[in-house]
Symmetry: D2
Subunit: 311 residues, 4 copies
């Protein structure tokens, strides 16, 4: 086994996209989010991920988000940009736009909307990588794209230099374990978990880092968790994770039966960031609704219990 | 019960998008497809549906498809255009482009990729309709978007004038029956089935028309089926449908385990059109593969059995 | 094509299982249900189907149900009995019990709880048939067993004399159409639909008969529908079906979010039979709850609108 | 937080059920499996779980299995017995049989085959517990029963003394983490993971023990893993788990597309036990096939790589 030296490690949060009340990108708020995350010690930023409402943003607004984040970040950490589109040519078009705006890497899912097949997913990633100069990471998110990226598919793509890493939001930790074990022979391939409730466990299982949506709200906590795991202080990692699991209760603030899981979850992240004074409003992209005053009060209570400052 | 007078009736095929070997829109072939469909007696054209590989086309190519179809159609029948995007603002952006290119109506699905909720789907259609001057039809396609549009959601949208019709590709014929019964009180609301193997049955159940992908290959057959149903000649409708079910076996020509259902199905439609002399190649969008010679020979045999001419 | 002469045709309702308030089989009520169905003109009875709460009954109670039904039926029509168990040996054990109690045929699903595979499903039906003297029908009910019986699986089993018929509750009418077409070469193989909202459409598509749960409530209606279809009076068939679709609204009487679809649906059938004076109570098997007074009142209103007598 | 003192901890394998070539229980082999597991240091035995082919066994054979296991175990460790049936009364009937045969606890799933609802699942467990003198554990196995047992459902049942523990085979480790955190206030409630590829990670996340199917093949390994985790030696736990993940490759020995995941997985466990000299044959219950010579050779190679003795 070669010593591992993956390019992407640490905490790389999928950056939320603050909006103004009329649905435009709230640039000053987004700049403050970037500052907040950098202050937390993150080692990268993932723009235009699911938590960034990328599926809700027109290409023009997507470009604006990348522009603001790369400017605000100013090279302090790498910026990964999602090119999350239904199929190959569409993903390439968005990836090239990101490339032109200063992205350091591109993140792509399997095809979606259409039905797909492992041979097609394989070609999808190969075509995307061939069309770009940037490294490409795969984003395994079956809850969104309704297919799973198995280690048998990913590891050959890594070995061939097509993929530089993977963000695993599949929730399938057995598969993740097999991926992490396979990655030991691929020293530069990054294995990142998006399973934000068990980052300690996935670090134990071999993750190089994490991409936690909740990391928007408490980047310092996830960075402490990561550092504890890296120094094999598993008691500290577990304690930090337990605290973050409790904080994650903010996603249950939305009244049952009144919003999608996406609106409840991302709405909670935005509401928490608003309460923490980082962003201006908790406005959500259409057709999602924003969380209301009662729901916001519940989130405030969660923040207090987690020991997070509010304004 | 008011007499029904729905705007959209008859056969409205989801037009396939012929490609050149290097992946560009094959304009002359697309023009011939339009001519072939009009010759078959269709009452409308649905551009940029799932069968049109819309999920594989960049916005620029989508616009090109609409331009070619509206030009070639030249107002002989209405052109419906899919604005099939993950969420509201993105769908509106594409819908406005279609509007500018001469579309007569816009067809939109529920949000996808993201998780959604009935209250959000309701707002999605209302926002889309409010942003356009064109009529909007809903496209119920759970196999692609992973949520179902229930009659309880659709009928109020129809009653409020938000929706002008629905294309039902859900395969849930019980739900379709309930929708068709509800539509009796909504005289201008069109209830169209995309369930191409049971169009006769769905016409009996109350459909105003059909949107059959297989109608690309044999528009004359589907038009005869529709006309037989309209004149209550159910034996003729059934016989025509039975013949078309046999023809549908072309979608099983792809060797098992080597392609997605989409590649197998749309690939078969294109291969059949190539064999019939309508389009130049059976090239498919990346990352799908095109059907090969052995598979093409199977499709040729199906065409022969169905009594369809080949070149 | 040989003339079809399938053994099982007409309306064969899946008989509900009335219970006493303390959860025992209510034998007098069950006898009255049998009388009610025979009075309606049904051509067979399906005991221990999903609508018969078979999954809720211990083997002892299952035997009691078969005994009561075969006694009350007294050979007037054939009695089909479900042997719905997780796997082969368990199904055979229950099928043999049914055989001993006078069943005329046995109905079995694919294996469930366990994961399965087409080769295993094939062997499952072959082993069951080999172990019995009775004819075996397949019950295609993916909503319960989570696998689908495709025509490619069923037709060879029919051709080999393993299966005497199929009850299709898959809701996949395209598959059903292909099955019905394939059955034309199998003159004695019965193709029955359980899709109670589109029986007219499925008769047009080639069904030999139907197995409608709602047929417990209104057997006369389903028999009229069947007879209209058989004599090619599709307008009458459609009108009868439309009335029955409206009657089916009884399954929406249960307050949303308070009961499973099974409890709501079967509870509605039982409540309607109680209101019609056929059975004593609307008691349900544990852990389902019975419908309450307000829900019962809604069902009564549906019965009135459908023109069904109440006591 | 009270000190935890859960009754069930350590490694409690779901015991496989060896069969003779003609499908009967192979009693001597089963006795040897029990001895092998006790020798490995397990702290309990789970009879009639999914890995015990319980869904394939008639009630008579189930009783025989319990009888052999309780006899062979002779009180050295507790014996938990699955009462895995579609619904409440059926599960109670089997649970009482287990009680009469010396079971120390009963394990039940949510209702299956039928559709169900959280209020019904809640009543299901309450009714089962009320009918028995034995402790009841919940078995969360959505891949089999197609519903998930959420912490919001389980924790109140634990607090009310209905449930003594849970075996979590959901694969949803975020949910498991929330369950484990909730269990801290329930000192006697056992939280056991069935996620055999990440037992180390789930121990870190708060599991009291594990129920690994693969533990049949290598009980010593899982016991070492458990003990390392308990003494906070996470490097040792991880190394042991990594070795077991590699061993788990035996489940991929079955040729793709020729068997269900159940037949491939349980067949591999049995084949490995046969190769290790514990059981006589790798015969499987109908309709599953047994693994053949080529597949057996692959499994032998895995055993060798994992350093496990063979005869």
């Amino acid at each position: 086994m070669t010593a591992r030296n993956p390019r992407w490690t640490g905490v790389i949060p999928p950056v939320v996209t603050p909006l103004t009340a009329d649905g435009e990108i709230d640039r000053p708020s987004l700049e403050r989010v970037v500052g907040h995350l950098l202050d937390g010690g993150v080692s990268g930023l993932f723009a235009l991920g699911s938590s960034g409402e990328t599926a809700y943003l027109t290409p023009g607004r997507q470009d604006e988000v990348v522009e603001v984040i790369t400017s605000a970040c100013a090279g302090q950490v790498p910026v990964l940009v999602g090119a999350i589109e239904t199929t190959t040519d569409r993903a390439i078009e968005r990836a090239r736009a990101a490339e032109g705006l200063g992205a350091d890497a591109v993140v792509a899912t399997a095809p979606f909307y259409t039905r797909t097949h492992p041979t097609e997913i394989d070609r999808h990633f190969r075509d995307i990588a061939a069309a770009l100069d940037l490294p490409v990471l795969a984003y395994d998110v079956p809850v969104c794209v309704h297919s799973k990226l198995d280690p048998e598919l990913l590891l050959p793509l890594a070995a061939d230099g097509v993929l530089a890493g993977v963000k695993d939001s599949s929730g399938d930790d057995g598969s993740f374990r097999r991926l992490a074990i396979g990655a030991r022979e691929l020293p530069e391939f990054s294995v990142l978990t998006g399973h934000e409730l068990v980052v300690d466990a996935m670090m134990l299982a071999g993750a190089d880092g994490s991409v936690p949506g909740l990391g928007n709200v408490d980047p310092h906590g996830y960075v402490r968790l990561h550092e504890a795991a890296v120094r094999d202080d598993w008691a500290a990692a577990r304690a930090e994770q337990d605290r973050l699991v409790a904080l994650f209760d903010i996603v249950r603030a939305a009244r049952p039966g009144t919003a999608s899981a996406t609106a409840a979850g991302l709405g909670a992240f935005k509401t928490a960031l608003m309460l923490r004074g980082i962003i201006g409003t908790n406005a959500m992209s259409a057709p999602m609704r924003r969380l209301d005053a009662a729901e916001t009060a519940e989130i405030a209570a969660c923040l207090d219990r987690a020991g997070l400052s509010r304004v």
